[in-house]
Structure formats: structure tokens, C-alpha cells
């Protein structure tokens, strides 16, 4: 396993005071807390910061860690000294969001420590929260998804391990971004085999066509200038399959049309909003160029008539 430099993780010197440790931890916790942060590696970073704080803020654990000496480099191959991990340490709280476990390094040093006064760890820590990414289609149709999660587990000796768990979970139809699903008894396993609950927070993987806003689904639909000008019936993809949409004559780019009830299912179901985007054909042949010139002549159209100012006037 690899040595972890907890001082470096918190960005503090080895002789940092308790107050310095707390300040450094709070600052990094605000930055990387998975409930607050949108940093891509927030969960992993928070876990690391939390672990460093768990060790350094407690004089007993800090002393045990310091006894390893200061000659180690972060990431260096580390073999725990004999007797490490056999003491019982007190833990105040455990990670919940963020993978829900400590590193191998931590477990080797302190893994034996959940017995004395660790009621909060046994109970609270065993409830787990995990974010799961599903497709919008999964929400539309419902159905089951297989997930792999790392789950903390206390063995009979009160030692903390993490175990990879595979679950097949029913995705409720119409679930929206940020909603949670509570799976009773599927969290980490505490003392005496008592299991906590697992909370799955839904996130949608970015979709090629759609963006969800609650149950509403938004998309941009390219249309030709003549479809927008003259009106047309066009085929529009929806989560439930293509539907016909009437583009009203005289539509401009950015016009928003609503397909009622074509969003995510529910009561009421969401709507699909279609934003028109006029796309010009390439004027790369003589015939198309002539057609545009003809249009320019007969339409006598100045799109900047209303936006012209004295300052910007060129002729």
C-alpha cells in the first residue's frame, strides 16, 4: 500500500497546531465537500481531506501517525509496522457521501478502532449515499440497472473494511435529476451485521439531443429557412419516439414550441420544448447563390433596420 502524507493533503507543516489543522480542514472541506463542490474529483479529494483530518485532529491518532516518522514520501510503498491497527481508536463520524470508506493505508493503521464509544460510527456511518448516472431514457422507460458500489463493513472484531457490492436496482419511471431513491438495509454493514440504508442520487448522463429540467425536456431543432418561412410539418425525436410537429409559418430562430406531455412521465408528465434553429444551406453552387440573390432582390429585407444607430451607419 502507499504511504499517505496527511500534512501535505491539508497543506500544513508537521508541527501545525490544532487550530491550524481545523482551519485547513474547514477550508478544504468547503472547497471539496460533495454537497457543495462541482469540482470533478470532489468526492475523492474530500475523502482524502476527511481522512487526513480524522487522523490529525485526534491527538492519539496523530501521535501514532507521527511515530511512523517524517522520512516518507507520499505515494511511497508502505508496510505497516507490526502491531499497527490492533489498537482501538475513537471515531467521531464516518464518511457518508464520497465512497464511504478509508484508504488501505488508514485501515492498516487505524482499522481496529471502532469499538470504544463509536456509536455514531456504527449507526450514522453505515447509511451511505452514492451518485448514480443514468440515461434520460432509463427514467422515461423505468427498468433495472446494475450498480457496483464500495460499501464500508464492520467485521466481528469491529474492524473496518470496504467491500465491493453489486446491486440491481429498479429505476422509478419519471425520476428526475437530483432526486434520491432510498434502499432500506442496503447500506454499509455495522456491528452485529446491522445494515444501514443506501441512498442513490440520480444524475443524468449528458444526452446527445436532450436537456432535462425537472420533468421537462428541452431540445434544439434545426430547420431550413423555407420551413421556417413557409411553415412545415417536421418529424421531431422525443423520448417516446418521433412525433410530427407543425412549424408555424414565419418562425424565427429561437422560437420555442411545446409538445405537451412528451417529457418525462409523471402526474402531470413533463413537456418537451423544441427551440427552432434556422440553418442556412451552403451557398456553394451558382444555382444556390442565384437563388439567394433573387431572394435579396424580391424580399427587400434589412434585418438591421431597427438596430441601426447614427454611429453605426455606414452609408
Amino acid at each position: 500500500m502507499q504511504y499517505k502524507d496527511y500534512y501535505k493533503i491539508l497543506g500544513i507543516p508537521r508541527d501545525a497546531t490544532k487550530e491550524q489543522i481545523k482551519r485547513a480542514y474547514r477550508k478544504l472541506a468547503r472547497k471539496y465537500h460533495p454537497d457543495v463542490s462541482k469540482e470533478p474529483d470532489a468526492e475523492a479529494r474530500f475523502k482524502e481531506v476527511n481522512e487526513a483530518h480524522e487522523v490529525l485532529h485526534d491527538p492519539e491518532k496523530r501521535a501514532a501517525y507521527d511515530r511512523l516518522g517524517s522520512g516518507w514520501q507520499a505515494g511511497e510503498e508502505f508496510r505497516p509496522p507490526p502491531g499497527a491497527g490492533t489498537r482501538f481508536y475513537h471515531f467521531e463520524g464516518g464518511p457518508d457521501l464520497g465512497g464511504g470508506n478509508f484508504s488501505d493505508f488508514f485501515e492498516a493503521l487505524f482499522g481496529g478502532g471502532l469499538r470504544s464509544g463509536a456509536e455514531s460510527m456504527r449507526t450514522r456511518a453505515m447509511d451511505q449515499t452514492a451518485r448514480v448516472q443514468i440515461g434520460l431514457e432509463d427514467s422515461y422507460t423505468g427498468g433495472s440497472r446494475t450498480l457496483q458500489l464500495d460499501m464500508p463493513e464492520l467485521d466481528d472484531q469491529g474492524r473496518l473494511h470496504s467491500r465491493r457490492k453489486t446491486l440491481r436496482v429498479q429505476i422509478p419511471q419519471g425520476v428526475t435529476e437530483g432526486q434520491q431513491i432510498r434502499l432500506a438495509g442496503q447500506g454499509g454493514t455495522g456491528v452485529g451485521g446491522r445494515a444501514g440504508d443506501l441512498y442513490l442520487e440520480i444524475q443524468f448522463t449528458p444526452h446527445r439531443l436532450y436537456r432535462a429540467d425537472g420533468r421537462d425536456v428541452h431540445m434544439t431543432l434545426p430547420v431550413s429557412p423555407w420551413e421556417a418561412a413557409l411553415g412545415a410539418m417536421v418529424s421531431v425525436p422525443t423520448l417516446g419516439g418521433p412525433v410530427s410537429l407543425k412549424v408555424p409559418a414565419g418562425s424565427q430562430s429561437g422560437r420555442k414550441l411545446r409538445l405537451k406531455g412528451r417529457g418525462l412521465p409523471g402526474s402531470p408528465p413533463g413537456d418537451q420544448y423544441v427551440t427552432l434553429q434556422i440553418v442556412l444551406p451552403p451557398a456553394d453552387t451558382e444555382a444556390v447563390q442565384k437563388a439567394f440573390r433573387d431572394l435579396a432582390r424580391v424580399a427587400a429585407f434589412d434585418p438591421r433596420r431597427d438596430s441601426e444607430t447614427d454611429h453605426g451607419r455606414t452609408s
Binding site: 462541482k38 453489486t166 440491481r168 434520491q180 434502499l183 442513490l200 434545426p222
Partner: protein
């Protein structure tokens, strides 16, 4: 592993399922005093005037657990957690709107 996995059905925490104060407290292992404080700080908005009549939409469970994590990990008090939660939710709404608007501005290209 033997055979296909059994499909687990969870409970969707939305506005259609309701919890009473006792259920909410036991799921979060929270004292009656702490729950009352969370309600007084506006962190949770139950229907029902008296604590024994309180009913919470189950989406409040996710909100409450988040508030508890913020208090534990960031050292904020319930009022601070309530403020942070409101702001986080507002940011999430704005981010969702921004994603849609960016898509509309840039088109599908």
C-alpha cells in the same frame, strides 16, 4: 455469483410520499429537539401546525441528510446549513437552466 441478481425496489424520495416526524427522526437518528430546530430555522417545511401533526414530503429526507452532513463536515449551525442548502439548490436550478440556454445559443452543432 450464482444466478441473476434480484431487483431491489427502493422508495423514490419525492413530493408524493410523506413522512411523519417520528419516521424522519428515526431515519436520520435525530433528537426531537434537533428536528424542531431544523423546522424553526426553515430548513424543513412540514405541513401541520403542531409537531405531532407534522408531515414532511419525503424529498425533505434528502434535504435533511444533506443539512446534517454540512453541519458535521463544515461546522455550520442549522441556520447556516439552511442558508447553504437554499443557495446550493438555487445554484443547481441555475446550472440546469444554463445548460439548456447554452444548448439553445449554440445549437446542435
Amino acid at each position: 455469483m450464482a444466478g441473476p441478481l434480484e431487483i431491489i425496489h427502493g422508495v423514490l424520495l419525492d413530493e408524493r410520499t410523506w413522512l411523519d416526524a417520528q419516521e424522519l427522526r428515526s431515519l436520520c437518528r435525530l433528537s426531537p429537539e434537533s428536528l424542531t430546530e431544523m423546522v424553526e430555522e426553515g430548513l424543513l417545511r412540514p405541513i401541520g401546525a403542531m409537531p405531532q401533526h407534522w408531515r414532511f414530503p419525503s424529498s425533505d429526507l434528502a434535504r435533511l441528510r444533506r443539512a446534517i452532513r454540512l453541519q458535521r463536515d463544515l461546522g455550520v449551525n442549522p441556520a447556516g446549513a439552511a442558508l447553504a442548502l437554499d443557495l446550493i439548490e438555487e445554484v443547481e436550478r441555475l446550472r440546469a437552466r444554463l445548460r439548456i440556454l447554452e444548448r439553445e445559443m449554440l445549437g446542435n452543432s
